[in-house]
Amino acid sequence: MKHLLTTKELTRDEAELILELTGQMADAVSGREVPKLPTLRGRTVVNLFYEDSTRTRTSFETAAKRLSADVVNFSAKTSSVSKGESLRDTALTLQAMGADAVVIRHPAAGAPQRLTQWLDGAVLNAGDGTHAHPTQALLDAYTMKQRLGGIEGRTVAVVGDIVHSRVARSNVWLLSKLGAKVRLVGPPTLLPANLEEWPVEVAYDLDSSLSDADAVMMLRVQRERMNDAFFPTANEYARLYGLDERRLALMPDHAIVMHPGPMNRGMEIAAAVADSPRATITEQVANGVWVRMAVLYLLLTNGETA
């Protein structure tokens, strides 16, 4: 493994190794005198974020620092991909600075893959456009594994704005690879047009999609989408696709509620549901650090970037 760009390109063995390492990273650091490992001492990890995401950037930064890497936050404050320094020139700069790994968040799908052509270091995709967000899917899978005891044979309903969601895409490939049944639920306007070849079930009705679900993953829906005719009003969306207490009761008792954050309370998820003990939202955040430690460890110590 030289880069982590998508979950689709991971083999099942690689995915399982990452999840195993994630648990070990948590064990290795939790509750110890010095919550820090010397593993990546002297290595430089660059956070290259073209979109504001304090949560993800902080999570990667914490993970890298727990492994003693030097972290450089390379500010790429441009709202448009066509303005400012080109991605290629930025890549050449980072290359000259000797970055061992570049964590990139970019509004353009495929930008991390382009970066691999201009850099020798490892590239970690921290979210590219509506394409992929592999560490989010990995932390979701790890959370499910912890809460549900495993992933194989479980049914996961992913609900909401699938078409604009890199989280949904990465979860589809990863969870199906790990043996879960994935069901995408949303109005046809928010589902990709061509899903025949995806390893998923598709449903338009949320109520009937809950009774056999082991996990329900709610996606953030941007209110602005209603201005572009994806749905008529926020109220109608919440009524048809929001997870409220009535719907929570339709789920099996053991089933969990997940959300990659940030949440729109009252829109895709009711406040009472978000705060219920069945919601794993804060665990997901905590697990994000362990997952990113595992991935950084794998990418920076398997010898291909030295």
């Binding site: 290795a28 398997n302 010898g303």
Partner: protein
């Protein structure tokens, strides 16, 4: 050059020369167990931490012997050092970490005896010391080793040595233990015919 086949000990499918047999290993561990009891005056507040892979089994065997010889319970655990290695950059295949499994007491104010099968460059022990010190503040750290093959690259020595085996750098010392292998043995392979 002599064909490798000529150097094989009969019955050893992997070739090489057997340095220690099962009986020898048993006697050595008996001796080390006694030495630990003697040197630590009955091993109070003491734990054995094996370094994966084979140090873990050796730590377990030493704990069992100490219990048998002196009716003293010395807890045995595992200390994984992967994240502390200094050769991570040099590569290898994808690998998972081993578990670190500490006795209930934790390491603070304890006498920790690190256990490993072979002492060579000393780099593994260096990593183990760092890993251990990040876990807490032991009162004392000692080192027990089954085979010392020399060629130290760091100023490290063992407190308990099973056997000193002079080797050439291009030789390899393989420790086999029934917990992982078909039998107990220490085998020397590689290098020129001696």
């Amino acid at each position: 050059m002599v064909a490798p086949a000529l150097r094989q000990t009969p019955g050893d499918p992997n070739g090489g020369k057997q340095i220690l047999a099962a009986d020898d290993i048993g006697r050595i561990l008996d001796r080390i167990a006694h030495q630990i009891l003697e040197k630590t005056k009955g091993a109070p507040d003491t734990m054995l931490l094996g370094i994966p892979t084979r140090g873990v089994a050796l730590a377990g065997r030493l704990a069992e012997r100490i219990r048998r010889f002196a009716d003293i319970d010395v807890p045995a655990g595992t200390l994984d050092i992967t994240l502390y290695r200094d050769d991570l950059r040099r590569g290898g295949a994808l690998r998972a970490l081993g578990p670190t499994d500490l006795p209930q007491s934790g390491v603070d104010d304890q006498r920790v005896i690190l256990v490993d099968d072979v002492l060579y460059s000393g780099r593994t022990v260096r990593a183990a010391l760092n890993a251990l010190l990040d876990l807490g503040r032991p009162a004392q750290v000692q080192l027990a080793i089954l085979v010392d093959r020399g060629h130290r690259e760091l100023p490290i020595r063992a407190d308990y040595v099973g056997k000193n085996i002079p080797t050439a750098r291009n030789e390899n010392v393989a420790v086999r233990l029934v917990e992982y292998d078909d039998r107990d043995a220490v085998i020397l392979t590689g290098g020129e015919e001696r």
